[in-house]
Amino acid sequence: MEQINLPIAEKGVVDQIRKISDDTWDIKVFSPGIAKSSKAAQFVHVRVSEDFRPFLRRPLSVGPCSGDYLRLIFTVKGSGTRLLAQKSTGDVIDLIGPLGNPFKLPEDDEYPIIVGGGIGVVPLLLLDDQLEPDTPRDFLLGVRTESLLPVDEPEIKHRNIQIASDDGSIGFGGNVVQLLERKLSKLQSNRVVVYACGPGMMMYALKQVCIKHSIKAYISLEVPMGCGLGACQSCAVPRSDGDGYLLVCQDGPVFDATEVLIEPEVLR
Protein backbone atom coordinates (compact mmCIF):
# COMPACT_ATOMS: atom_id res chain seq x y z
CA MET A 1 0.00 0.00 0.00
CA GLU A 2 1.01 3.53 -0.70
CA GLN A 3 2.36 5.65 2.13
CA ILE A 4 -0.47 7.79 3.44
CA ASN A 5 0.07 10.87 5.52
CA LEU A 6 -1.62 10.95 8.89
CA PRO A 7 -4.53 13.34 9.14
CA ILE A 8 -3.90 16.59 10.95
CA ALA A 9 -6.08 19.28 12.38
CA GLU A 10 -5.51 22.59 10.65
CA LYS A 11 -7.17 25.99 10.74
CA GLY A 12 -7.30 26.90 7.08
CA VAL A 13 -7.64 30.52 6.02
CA VAL A 14 -9.86 31.52 3.11
CA ASP A 15 -7.69 33.18 0.50
CA GLN A 16 -10.31 33.62 -2.18
CA ILE A 17 -13.88 32.53 -2.74
CA ARG A 18 -15.69 32.61 -6.03
CA LYS A 19 -18.99 31.48 -7.40
CA ILE A 20 -18.69 29.12 -10.33
CA SER A 21 -22.33 28.60 -11.16
CA ASP A 22 -25.66 29.29 -9.52
CA ASP A 23 -25.01 26.94 -6.64
CA THR A 24 -21.35 25.97 -6.90
CA TRP A 25 -18.51 27.69 -5.09
CA ASP A 26 -14.75 27.41 -5.23
CA ILE A 27 -12.74 28.36 -2.16
CA LYS A 28 -8.98 28.64 -2.22
CA VAL A 29 -7.75 27.88 1.28
CA PHE A 30 -4.36 28.49 2.82
CA SER A 31 -3.77 25.18 4.58
CA PRO A 32 -0.14 24.21 4.08
CA GLY A 33 -0.12 21.03 6.15
CA ILE A 34 -3.03 19.49 4.30
CA ALA A 35 -2.39 20.99 0.86
CA LYS A 36 1.12 19.56 0.74
CA SER A 37 0.25 16.06 1.77
CA SER A 38 -3.08 15.41 0.03
CA LYS A 39 -3.48 12.93 -2.75
CA ALA A 40 -6.36 12.64 -5.20
CA ALA A 41 -9.66 11.44 -3.66
CA GLN A 42 -8.57 12.22 -0.14
CA PHE A 43 -10.91 14.56 1.66
CA VAL A 44 -11.09 17.06 4.46
CA HIS A 45 -13.72 17.02 7.17
CA VAL A 46 -14.91 20.58 7.48
CA ARG A 47 -16.52 22.21 10.49
CA VAL A 48 -19.23 24.43 9.07
CA SER A 49 -20.63 25.89 12.29
CA GLU A 50 -19.02 26.84 15.57
CA ASP A 51 -22.30 26.53 17.45
CA PHE A 52 -23.15 23.00 16.35
CA ARG A 53 -25.94 24.00 13.98
CA PRO A 54 -25.73 22.00 11.82
CA PHE A 55 -24.08 19.51 14.11
CA LEU A 56 -21.83 17.45 11.88
CA ARG A 57 -18.78 18.31 9.85
CA ARG A 58 -19.07 18.08 6.06
CA PRO A 59 -16.69 15.88 4.04
CA LEU A 60 -15.30 17.64 0.98
CA SER A 61 -12.75 16.32 -1.50
CA VAL A 62 -9.43 18.07 -1.67
CA GLY A 63 -9.44 19.82 -5.03
CA PRO A 64 -6.41 21.01 -6.96
CA CYS A 65 -3.56 22.07 -4.68
CA SER A 66 -0.75 24.50 -5.32
CA GLY A 67 1.94 24.95 -2.75
CA ASP A 68 0.34 25.93 0.55
CA TYR A 69 -3.13 26.20 -0.95
CA LEU A 70 -5.89 23.76 -1.65
CA ARG A 71 -9.22 24.26 -3.38
CA LEU A 72 -12.60 23.20 -2.07
CA ILE A 73 -15.25 23.14 -4.76
CA PHE A 74 -18.76 22.39 -3.64
CA THR A 75 -22.41 22.61 -4.47
CA VAL A 76 -24.80 24.16 -1.99
CA LYS A 77 -27.17 21.36 -1.02
CA GLY A 78 -28.33 22.21 2.49
CA SER A 79 -27.52 24.20 5.58
CA GLY A 80 -23.88 23.15 5.90
CA THR A 81 -22.69 24.04 2.44
CA ARG A 82 -24.84 27.18 2.59
CA LEU A 83 -22.80 28.37 5.57
CA LEU A 84 -19.55 27.55 3.78
CA ALA A 85 -20.63 29.59 0.77
CA GLN A 86 -20.92 32.60 3.09
CA LYS A 87 -17.24 32.59 3.98
CA SER A 88 -15.04 35.41 2.85
CA THR A 89 -11.35 36.13 2.51
CA GLY A 90 -9.58 35.89 5.84
CA ASP A 91 -12.17 33.64 7.48
CA VAL A 92 -10.81 30.62 9.29
CA ILE A 93 -12.07 27.13 8.45
CA ASP A 94 -11.48 24.25 10.86
CA LEU A 95 -10.25 21.31 8.75
CA ILE A 96 -9.23 17.75 9.49
CA GLY A 97 -7.36 15.99 6.73
CA PRO A 98 -6.19 14.53 4.53
CA LEU A 99 -8.57 11.63 5.19
CA GLY A 100 -9.22 8.39 3.35
CA ASN A 101 -7.23 6.53 0.72
CA PRO A 102 -6.19 8.11 -2.57
CA PHE A 103 -6.68 6.75 -6.04
CA LYS A 104 -4.11 4.16 -7.01
CA LEU A 105 -2.25 5.78 -9.91
CA PRO A 106 -2.22 3.93 -13.25
CA GLU A 107 0.50 1.39 -14.05
CA ASP A 108 2.83 2.25 -16.90
CA ASP A 109 0.86 0.21 -19.41
CA GLU A 110 -2.55 1.50 -18.31
CA TYR A 111 -4.55 4.18 -20.06
CA PRO A 112 -6.52 6.31 -17.61
CA ILE A 113 -9.99 7.54 -18.39
CA ILE A 114 -11.25 10.01 -15.85
CA VAL A 115 -15.03 10.16 -15.56
CA GLY A 116 -16.71 12.80 -13.45
CA GLY A 117 -20.37 13.41 -12.80
CA GLY A 118 -21.29 16.93 -11.72
CA ILE A 119 -19.56 18.09 -8.56
CA GLY A 120 -17.99 14.60 -8.36
CA VAL A 121 -15.31 16.05 -10.63
CA VAL A 122 -13.46 17.64 -7.70
CA PRO A 123 -11.20 14.72 -6.66
CA LEU A 124 -10.58 14.04 -10.33
CA LEU A 125 -9.14 17.50 -10.86
CA LEU A 126 -6.46 16.70 -8.30
CA LEU A 127 -5.92 13.31 -9.94
CA ASP A 128 -5.49 15.02 -13.29
CA ASP A 129 -2.75 17.14 -11.70
CA GLN A 130 -1.09 14.16 -10.08
CA LEU A 131 -0.77 12.10 -13.23
CA GLU A 132 2.60 12.56 -14.92
CA PRO A 133 2.19 15.52 -17.30
CA ASP A 134 3.04 13.39 -20.31
CA THR A 135 0.63 10.58 -19.41
CA PRO A 136 -2.05 10.41 -22.09
CA ARG A 137 -5.57 10.30 -20.72
CA ASP A 138 -9.20 11.10 -21.38
CA PHE A 139 -11.07 13.37 -18.99
CA LEU A 140 -14.85 13.17 -19.31
CA LEU A 141 -17.35 15.22 -17.34
CA GLY A 142 -21.10 14.87 -17.37
CA VAL A 143 -23.59 17.53 -16.35
CA ARG A 144 -27.33 17.84 -16.62
CA THR A 145 -27.08 21.11 -18.46
CA GLU A 146 -24.43 23.67 -19.33
CA SER A 147 -25.33 26.12 -16.58
CA LEU A 148 -24.55 23.53 -13.94
CA LEU A 149 -20.92 23.06 -14.96
CA PRO A 150 -18.86 22.84 -11.76
CA VAL A 151 -15.68 24.09 -13.46
CA ASP A 152 -15.17 27.17 -15.56
CA GLU A 153 -14.27 27.58 -19.19
CA PRO A 154 -10.49 28.15 -18.73
CA GLU A 155 -10.19 25.08 -16.52
CA ILE A 156 -12.07 22.95 -19.06
CA LYS A 157 -9.80 24.16 -21.85
CA HIS A 158 -6.62 23.82 -19.84
CA ARG A 159 -7.38 20.26 -18.80
CA ASN A 160 -8.94 19.35 -22.10
CA ILE A 161 -12.11 18.11 -20.39
CA GLN A 162 -14.70 16.54 -22.69
CA ILE A 163 -18.20 17.47 -21.64
CA ALA A 164 -21.40 15.47 -21.88
CA SER A 165 -24.74 17.07 -21.07
CA ASP A 166 -28.04 15.29 -20.62
CA ASP A 167 -29.90 17.97 -22.55
CA GLY A 168 -27.22 18.42 -25.21
CA SER A 169 -26.72 22.07 -24.25
CA ILE A 170 -22.96 21.55 -24.33
CA GLY A 171 -20.66 18.85 -25.71
CA PHE A 172 -21.87 15.33 -26.19
CA GLY A 173 -25.65 14.98 -25.92
CA GLY A 174 -26.28 12.19 -23.43
CA ASN A 175 -24.92 11.06 -20.11
CA VAL A 176 -21.25 10.69 -19.34
CA VAL A 177 -21.41 6.89 -19.10
CA GLN A 178 -22.68 6.78 -22.67
CA LEU A 179 -19.77 9.00 -23.63
CA LEU A 180 -17.44 6.59 -21.83
CA GLU A 181 -18.85 3.67 -23.80
CA ARG A 182 -18.12 5.50 -27.03
CA LYS A 183 -14.53 6.05 -25.96
CA LEU A 184 -14.16 2.42 -24.97
CA SER A 185 -15.36 1.22 -28.33
CA LYS A 186 -12.37 3.00 -29.86
CA LEU A 187 -9.76 1.76 -27.37
CA GLN A 188 -8.15 -1.53 -26.52
CA SER A 189 -10.12 -1.96 -23.34
CA ASN A 190 -7.80 -4.26 -21.38
CA ARG A 191 -5.36 -1.38 -21.08
CA VAL A 192 -7.97 1.05 -19.76
CA VAL A 193 -8.40 2.03 -16.12
CA VAL A 194 -11.35 4.19 -15.15
CA TYR A 195 -11.28 6.75 -12.35
CA ALA A 196 -14.75 7.93 -11.45
CA CYS A 197 -16.71 9.99 -9.00
CA GLY A 198 -20.29 11.17 -9.32
CA PRO A 199 -23.89 10.65 -8.24
CA GLY A 200 -25.25 7.23 -7.31
CA MET A 201 -27.13 6.56 -10.54
CA MET A 202 -24.06 7.37 -12.60
CA MET A 203 -21.80 5.16 -10.50
CA TYR A 204 -24.30 2.35 -10.83
CA ALA A 205 -24.38 2.61 -14.63
CA LEU A 206 -20.62 3.05 -14.81
CA LYS A 207 -20.02 -0.11 -12.84
CA GLN A 208 -22.21 -2.11 -15.22
CA VAL A 209 -20.37 -0.76 -18.23
CA CYS A 210 -16.96 -1.50 -16.73
CA ILE A 211 -18.01 -5.04 -15.86
CA LYS A 212 -19.36 -5.56 -19.37
CA HIS A 213 -16.08 -4.44 -20.88
CA SER A 214 -13.96 -6.12 -18.15
CA ILE A 215 -12.32 -2.85 -17.25
CA LYS A 216 -10.75 -1.98 -13.95
CA ALA A 217 -12.55 0.96 -12.36
CA TYR A 218 -11.67 2.91 -9.26
CA ILE A 219 -14.60 4.80 -7.90
CA SER A 220 -14.75 7.35 -5.13
CA LEU A 221 -17.96 7.21 -3.07
CA GLU A 222 -19.82 9.84 -1.08
CA VAL A 223 -22.05 8.90 1.83
CA PRO A 224 -23.12 10.71 5.01
CA MET A 225 -20.36 10.65 7.61
CA GLY A 226 -19.97 11.07 11.34
CA CYS A 227 -16.38 11.10 12.54
CA GLY A 228 -14.59 10.73 9.19
CA LEU A 229 -11.88 8.84 11.08
CA GLY A 230 -13.02 5.23 11.14
CA ALA A 231 -14.34 5.40 14.68
CA CYS A 232 -18.12 5.52 14.38
CA GLN A 233 -19.04 3.16 11.52
CA SER A 234 -21.52 5.66 10.07
CA CYS A 235 -20.19 5.57 6.53
CA ALA A 236 -20.75 1.93 5.66
CA VAL A 237 -21.31 0.66 2.13
CA PRO A 238 -22.23 -2.98 1.48
CA ARG A 239 -19.53 -5.28 0.13
CA SER A 240 -20.54 -6.83 -3.14
CA ASP A 241 -19.70 -10.29 -1.80
CA GLY A 242 -22.47 -9.87 0.79
CA ASP A 243 -20.02 -10.19 3.67
CA GLY A 244 -20.89 -7.07 5.60
CA TYR A 245 -19.76 -3.54 4.97
CA LEU A 246 -16.77 -1.39 4.17
CA LEU A 247 -16.23 2.08 5.58
CA VAL A 248 -15.98 4.94 3.11
CA CYS A 249 -13.83 7.08 5.40
CA GLN A 250 -11.38 4.33 6.26
CA ASP A 251 -11.49 1.70 3.51
CA GLY A 252 -12.44 4.28 0.86
CA PRO A 253 -13.51 6.69 -0.41
CA VAL A 254 -11.81 4.94 -3.33
CA PHE A 255 -12.93 1.39 -4.02
CA ASP A 256 -12.42 -1.05 -6.81
CA ALA A 257 -15.88 -0.94 -8.41
CA THR A 258 -16.25 -4.70 -8.02
CA GLU A 259 -15.67 -4.55 -4.26
CA VAL A 260 -18.81 -2.65 -3.31
CA LEU A 261 -22.50 -2.85 -3.95
CA ILE A 262 -23.66 0.39 -5.47
CA GLU A 263 -27.03 1.45 -4.12
CA PRO A 264 -28.01 4.61 -5.98
CA GLU A 265 -30.58 5.46 -3.32
CA VAL A 266 -28.00 5.53 -0.56
CA LEU A 267 -25.35 7.43 -2.45
CA ARG A 268 -27.97 9.94 -3.74
Binding site: A9, P224, C227, A231, S234, E265, V266
Partner: protein, 306 residues
Protein backbone atom coordinates in the same frame (compact mmCIF):
# COMPACT_ATOMS: atom_id res chain seq x y z
CA UNK B 1 -6.31 29.25 41.63
CA UNK B 2 -5.67 25.70 40.64
CA UNK B 3 -8.65 23.40 40.34
CA UNK B 4 -8.40 19.73 41.21
CA UNK B 5 -10.03 17.83 38.36
CA UNK B 6 -9.55 14.30 39.63
CA UNK B 7 -12.50 12.09 40.42
CA UNK B 8 -12.41 9.15 42.77
CA UNK B 9 -15.01 6.40 42.45
CA UNK B 10 -14.50 3.28 44.51
CA UNK B 11 -11.34 1.67 43.22
CA UNK B 12 -11.05 4.17 40.38
CA UNK B 13 -9.06 7.34 40.38
CA UNK B 14 -9.61 9.33 37.20
CA UNK B 15 -7.49 12.28 36.11
CA UNK B 16 -10.61 14.12 34.98
CA UNK B 17 -14.32 13.27 34.91
CA UNK B 18 -14.33 13.19 31.10
CA UNK B 19 -14.88 9.86 29.35
CA UNK B 20 -15.80 9.06 25.78
CA UNK B 21 -19.26 7.77 24.95
CA UNK B 22 -19.22 4.21 23.68
CA UNK B 23 -19.38 3.94 19.91
CA UNK B 24 -18.22 7.49 19.25
CA UNK B 25 -14.53 6.81 19.78
CA UNK B 26 -14.04 3.40 18.16
CA UNK B 27 -11.51 1.28 19.98
CA UNK B 28 -9.58 4.29 21.18
CA UNK B 29 -6.91 4.99 18.59
CA UNK B 30 -8.85 6.06 15.51
CA UNK B 31 -8.65 9.76 16.35
CA UNK B 32 -4.85 9.47 16.29
CA UNK B 33 -2.89 12.59 17.01
CA UNK B 34 -6.01 14.72 16.73
CA UNK B 35 -7.16 13.84 20.22
CA UNK B 36 -5.48 14.93 23.43
CA UNK B 37 -5.75 12.06 25.89
CA UNK B 38 -4.55 14.18 28.80
CA UNK B 39 -7.98 15.81 29.14
CA UNK B 40 -9.64 12.43 29.53
CA UNK B 41 -10.22 10.43 32.66
CA UNK B 42 -10.74 7.42 30.46
CA UNK B 43 -12.20 6.09 27.27
CA UNK B 44 -14.98 3.62 26.63
CA UNK B 45 -14.79 1.43 23.56
CA UNK B 46 -17.44 0.69 20.96
CA UNK B 47 -19.72 -2.02 22.37
CA UNK B 48 -18.27 -5.48 21.80
CA UNK B 49 -20.38 -8.58 21.36
CA UNK B 50 -19.54 -12.26 21.32
CA UNK B 51 -19.78 -12.65 17.56
CA UNK B 52 -18.87 -9.98 15.02
CA UNK B 53 -21.81 -7.88 13.86
CA UNK B 54 -22.03 -6.31 10.44
CA UNK B 55 -24.46 -3.63 11.52
CA UNK B 56 -27.44 -2.01 9.82
CA UNK B 57 -27.99 -1.07 6.18
CA UNK B 58 -26.90 2.46 5.21
CA UNK B 59 -27.46 5.33 5.49
CA UNK B 60 -26.51 5.00 9.14
CA UNK B 61 -26.37 8.60 10.26
CA UNK B 62 -28.43 11.72 9.71
CA UNK B 63 -28.95 15.09 11.27
CA UNK B 64 -32.18 16.39 12.77
CA UNK B 65 -33.74 19.81 12.30
CA UNK B 66 -33.53 20.11 16.06
CA UNK B 67 -29.73 20.16 16.00
CA UNK B 68 -29.03 16.57 16.95
CA UNK B 69 -28.06 13.45 15.06
CA UNK B 70 -29.55 9.98 14.69
CA UNK B 71 -27.41 6.90 14.12
CA UNK B 72 -28.36 3.37 13.26
CA UNK B 73 -24.97 1.71 13.33
CA UNK B 74 -26.55 -1.43 14.69
CA UNK B 75 -23.66 -2.28 17.02
CA UNK B 76 -21.33 -3.12 14.15
CA UNK B 77 -18.24 -4.52 15.84
CA UNK B 78 -15.50 -7.04 15.26
CA UNK B 79 -16.63 -9.49 17.97
CA UNK B 80 -14.68 -10.51 21.03
CA UNK B 81 -12.26 -12.90 19.30
CA UNK B 82 -11.10 -10.45 16.66
CA UNK B 83 -11.04 -7.77 19.33
CA UNK B 84 -8.65 -9.71 21.50
CA UNK B 85 -6.55 -10.72 18.51
CA UNK B 86 -6.18 -7.39 16.76
CA UNK B 87 -7.60 -4.52 18.76
CA UNK B 88 -6.45 -4.98 22.32
CA UNK B 89 -2.91 -3.95 21.39
CA UNK B 90 -4.10 -0.66 19.94
CA UNK B 91 -6.03 0.39 23.07
CA UNK B 92 -4.60 3.59 24.54
CA UNK B 93 -3.66 2.01 27.83
CA UNK B 94 -1.08 3.97 29.69
CA UNK B 95 -2.34 7.13 28.04
CA UNK B 96 -5.67 6.94 29.83
CA UNK B 97 -7.98 4.50 31.62
CA UNK B 98 -9.71 2.08 29.28
CA UNK B 99 -13.23 0.75 29.81
CA UNK B 100 -14.76 -1.85 27.55
CA UNK B 101 -18.38 -1.63 26.55
CA UNK B 102 -20.11 -4.98 26.28
CA UNK B 103 -23.33 -5.90 24.53
CA UNK B 104 -25.11 -9.20 24.13
CA UNK B 105 -28.31 -10.95 23.16
CA UNK B 106 -28.52 -12.98 26.32
CA UNK B 107 -27.23 -13.05 29.88
CA UNK B 108 -24.78 -15.77 28.87
CA UNK B 109 -23.27 -13.66 26.09
CA UNK B 110 -22.47 -10.79 28.42
CA UNK B 111 -20.84 -13.21 30.83
CA UNK B 112 -18.84 -14.95 28.12
CA UNK B 113 -17.46 -11.71 26.70
CA UNK B 114 -16.48 -10.43 30.13
CA UNK B 115 -14.85 -13.75 31.01
CA UNK B 116 -12.68 -13.57 27.93
CA UNK B 117 -11.64 -10.03 28.78
CA UNK B 118 -10.68 -10.92 32.32
CA UNK B 119 -7.43 -12.32 30.89
CA UNK B 120 -6.56 -8.98 29.31
CA UNK B 121 -4.60 -6.90 31.76
CA UNK B 122 -4.83 -3.17 32.14
CA UNK B 123 -8.57 -2.88 31.65
CA UNK B 124 -10.08 -0.46 34.18
CA UNK B 125 -13.59 -1.83 33.96
CA UNK B 126 -16.66 -2.51 31.88
CA UNK B 127 -19.79 -0.75 30.78
CA UNK B 128 -22.72 -3.04 30.13
CA UNK B 129 -24.81 -1.69 27.28
CA UNK B 130 -28.29 -2.97 28.01
CA UNK B 131 -29.98 -0.18 26.11
CA UNK B 132 -29.04 0.00 22.47
CA UNK B 133 -32.05 1.03 20.40
CA UNK B 134 -30.65 -0.34 17.18
CA UNK B 135 -31.03 -4.07 17.47
CA UNK B 136 -34.10 -6.22 17.79
CA UNK B 137 -33.87 -9.05 20.22
CA UNK B 138 -35.76 -12.26 20.69
CA UNK B 139 -37.82 -12.59 23.81
CA UNK B 140 -35.73 -10.46 26.15
CA UNK B 141 -36.41 -6.77 26.17
CA UNK B 142 -33.03 -5.97 27.63
CA UNK B 143 -33.49 -2.24 27.55
CA UNK B 144 -36.79 -2.19 29.35
CA UNK B 145 -36.98 -5.13 31.64
CA UNK B 146 -35.44 -4.57 35.07
CA UNK B 147 -35.35 -8.29 35.84
CA UNK B 148 -33.25 -8.92 32.73
CA UNK B 149 -30.90 -6.08 33.61
CA UNK B 150 -30.48 -7.36 37.15
CA UNK B 151 -29.80 -10.85 35.80
CA UNK B 152 -27.10 -9.60 33.45
CA UNK B 153 -25.44 -7.51 36.13
CA UNK B 154 -25.46 -10.16 38.84
CA UNK B 155 -24.15 -12.82 36.45
CA UNK B 156 -21.37 -10.57 35.24
CA UNK B 157 -20.54 -9.84 38.88
CA UNK B 158 -19.80 -13.52 39.43
CA UNK B 159 -16.99 -13.45 36.85
CA UNK B 160 -15.32 -10.09 37.46
CA UNK B 161 -14.15 -7.97 40.35
CA UNK B 162 -13.51 -5.06 38.01
CA UNK B 163 -15.49 -1.84 38.03
CA UNK B 164 -18.80 -2.26 36.16
CA UNK B 165 -21.23 0.42 35.05
CA UNK B 166 -24.65 -0.43 33.64
CA UNK B 167 -25.82 1.80 30.81
CA UNK B 168 -29.55 2.43 30.70
CA UNK B 169 -31.95 3.80 28.11
CA UNK B 170 -33.76 7.11 28.74
CA UNK B 171 -36.98 5.40 27.76
CA UNK B 172 -38.33 5.09 31.27
CA UNK B 173 -40.71 7.75 32.58
CA UNK B 174 -39.03 7.23 35.96
CA UNK B 175 -35.62 5.61 36.17
CA UNK B 176 -35.56 4.85 39.90
CA UNK B 177 -36.79 1.24 40.00
CA UNK B 178 -34.49 -0.01 37.27
CA UNK B 179 -31.55 2.00 38.61
CA UNK B 180 -32.08 0.47 42.02
CA UNK B 181 -32.34 -3.01 40.50
CA UNK B 182 -29.01 -2.62 38.70
CA UNK B 183 -27.28 -1.40 41.85
CA UNK B 184 -28.77 -4.15 43.95
CA UNK B 185 -27.41 -6.62 41.41
CA UNK B 186 -23.90 -5.31 41.96
CA UNK B 187 -23.33 -2.38 39.60
CA UNK B 188 -20.49 -0.08 40.68
CA UNK B 189 -21.94 2.77 38.64
CA UNK B 190 -24.81 3.62 36.32
CA UNK B 191 -24.45 5.27 32.93
CA UNK B 192 -27.33 7.58 32.10
CA UNK B 193 -28.27 7.59 29.37
CA UNK B 194 -28.03 5.89 26.04
CA UNK B 195 -29.74 7.49 23.03
CA UNK B 196 -33.45 8.09 22.55
CA UNK B 197 -35.15 6.25 19.71
CA UNK B 198 -35.67 8.75 16.90
CA UNK B 199 -36.39 9.06 13.22
CA UNK B 200 -36.37 11.60 10.41
CA UNK B 201 -38.19 11.59 7.10
CA UNK B 202 -37.23 13.04 3.74
CA UNK B 203 -40.63 14.23 2.54
CA UNK B 204 -39.42 14.84 -1.01
CA UNK B 205 -38.42 11.22 -1.50
CA UNK B 206 -40.98 9.92 1.04
CA UNK B 207 -38.25 7.86 2.64
CA UNK B 208 -36.73 7.68 6.09
CA UNK B 209 -33.27 9.24 6.29
CA UNK B 210 -31.86 6.05 7.79
CA UNK B 211 -31.71 2.63 6.17
CA UNK B 212 -32.98 1.13 9.40
CA UNK B 213 -35.82 3.73 9.59
CA UNK B 214 -35.28 4.47 13.31
CA UNK B 215 -32.05 4.99 15.21
CA UNK B 216 -30.43 6.44 18.29
CA UNK B 217 -31.03 10.15 18.76
CA UNK B 218 -28.13 12.00 20.42
CA UNK B 219 -26.54 15.40 20.70
CA UNK B 220 -27.94 18.60 22.28
CA UNK B 221 -31.65 17.66 22.09
CA UNK B 222 -30.94 14.67 24.32
CA UNK B 223 -29.40 16.71 27.11
CA UNK B 224 -32.52 17.72 29.08
CA UNK B 225 -33.74 14.11 29.06
CA UNK B 226 -30.44 12.62 30.21
CA UNK B 227 -30.13 15.32 32.86
CA UNK B 228 -33.54 14.42 34.27
CA UNK B 229 -32.57 10.75 34.39
CA UNK B 230 -29.27 11.49 36.14
CA UNK B 231 -31.07 13.59 38.73
CA UNK B 232 -33.84 11.03 39.24
CA UNK B 233 -31.33 8.23 39.71
CA UNK B 234 -29.13 10.29 42.01
CA UNK B 235 -32.09 10.65 44.36
CA UNK B 236 -32.26 6.91 44.92
CA UNK B 237 -28.92 5.19 44.35
CA UNK B 238 -25.62 5.78 46.07
CA UNK B 239 -23.25 4.55 43.38
CA UNK B 240 -21.56 7.08 41.10
CA UNK B 241 -23.41 8.08 37.96
CA UNK B 242 -21.75 8.43 34.58
CA UNK B 243 -23.65 10.96 32.52
CA UNK B 244 -24.10 10.66 28.78
CA UNK B 245 -26.27 12.84 26.60
CA UNK B 246 -25.75 15.92 24.52
CA UNK B 247 -22.90 17.65 26.31
CA UNK B 248 -21.09 20.07 24.02
CA UNK B 249 -19.56 22.55 26.46
CA UNK B 250 -18.34 23.02 30.01
CA UNK B 251 -21.62 24.47 31.24
CA UNK B 252 -23.53 21.40 30.05
CA UNK B 253 -21.04 19.30 31.99
CA UNK B 254 -21.40 21.37 35.15
CA UNK B 255 -25.18 20.89 34.91
CA UNK B 256 -24.68 17.13 34.99
CA UNK B 257 -22.25 17.33 37.92
CA UNK B 258 -24.73 19.41 39.91
CA UNK B 259 -27.52 16.98 39.06
CA UNK B 260 -25.44 14.18 40.54
CA UNK B 261 -23.08 12.80 37.90
CA UNK B 262 -19.50 11.90 38.85
CA UNK B 263 -18.23 11.28 35.34
CA UNK B 264 -19.18 12.84 32.02
CA UNK B 265 -19.17 11.05 28.70
CA UNK B 266 -18.54 13.04 25.57
CA UNK B 267 -20.10 11.34 22.57
CA UNK B 268 -21.49 12.96 19.43
CA UNK B 269 -19.64 16.20 20.16
CA UNK B 270 -16.39 14.44 19.22
CA UNK B 271 -17.55 14.19 15.59
CA UNK B 272 -18.04 17.92 15.30
CA UNK B 273 -15.20 18.92 17.57
CA UNK B 274 -12.54 16.33 18.41
CA UNK B 275 -10.81 19.01 20.49
CA UNK B 276 -13.86 19.19 22.76
CA UNK B 277 -12.29 17.38 25.73
CA UNK B 278 -9.56 19.98 26.23
CA UNK B 279 -11.89 22.88 25.57
CA UNK B 280 -14.56 21.54 27.89
CA UNK B 281 -12.11 20.81 30.68
CA UNK B 282 -10.94 24.42 30.47
CA UNK B 283 -14.50 25.71 30.50
CA UNK B 284 -15.22 23.68 33.64
CA UNK B 285 -12.08 24.97 35.32
CA UNK B 286 -13.06 28.55 34.47
CA UNK B 287 -16.45 27.98 36.04
CA UNK B 288 -14.81 26.64 39.18
CA UNK B 289 -12.48 29.61 39.38
CA UNK B 290 -15.37 32.01 38.97
CA UNK B 291 -17.28 30.28 41.76
CA UNK B 292 -14.36 29.55 44.08
CA UNK B 293 -14.68 25.81 43.70
CA UNK B 294 -11.36 24.09 44.32
CA UNK B 295 -12.30 20.59 43.31
CA UNK B 296 -14.57 19.62 40.42
CA UNK B 297 -15.80 16.73 42.53
CA UNK B 298 -17.16 19.21 45.07
CA UNK B 299 -19.90 20.07 42.58
CA UNK B 300 -21.31 16.57 42.36
CA UNK B 301 -24.95 16.52 43.44
CA UNK B 302 -24.89 20.13 44.64
CA UNK B 303 -28.11 21.15 42.93
CA UNK B 304 -30.26 23.16 45.32
CA UNK B 305 -33.85 22.04 45.25
CA UNK B 306 -36.49 22.71 47.84
Amino acid sequence: MSVDTTIRMGSLNLRTPLLTGSGTFGYGDEFGSIIDYSSFGGIITKSISLKPRAGNPPPRICETQSGGIINSIGLANVGIYNFIESKVDTLPMGKTEVFLSIVGDSVEEYVEVVEKLEDVSGIAGYELNVSCPNVRRGGLDLGGDKEAIAAIMSSVRTVTGRFVSVKLTPHYPVIAPVAQAAVDAGADALTLTNTLVGMEVDVERRKPLLGNVTGGYSGPPLKPVALAKVWQAAQVVDVPIWASGGMVNGIDCIEFLLAGASALQLGSVLFADPYAPGRILNEMIEYCERHDVTRLSDLVGKLETR
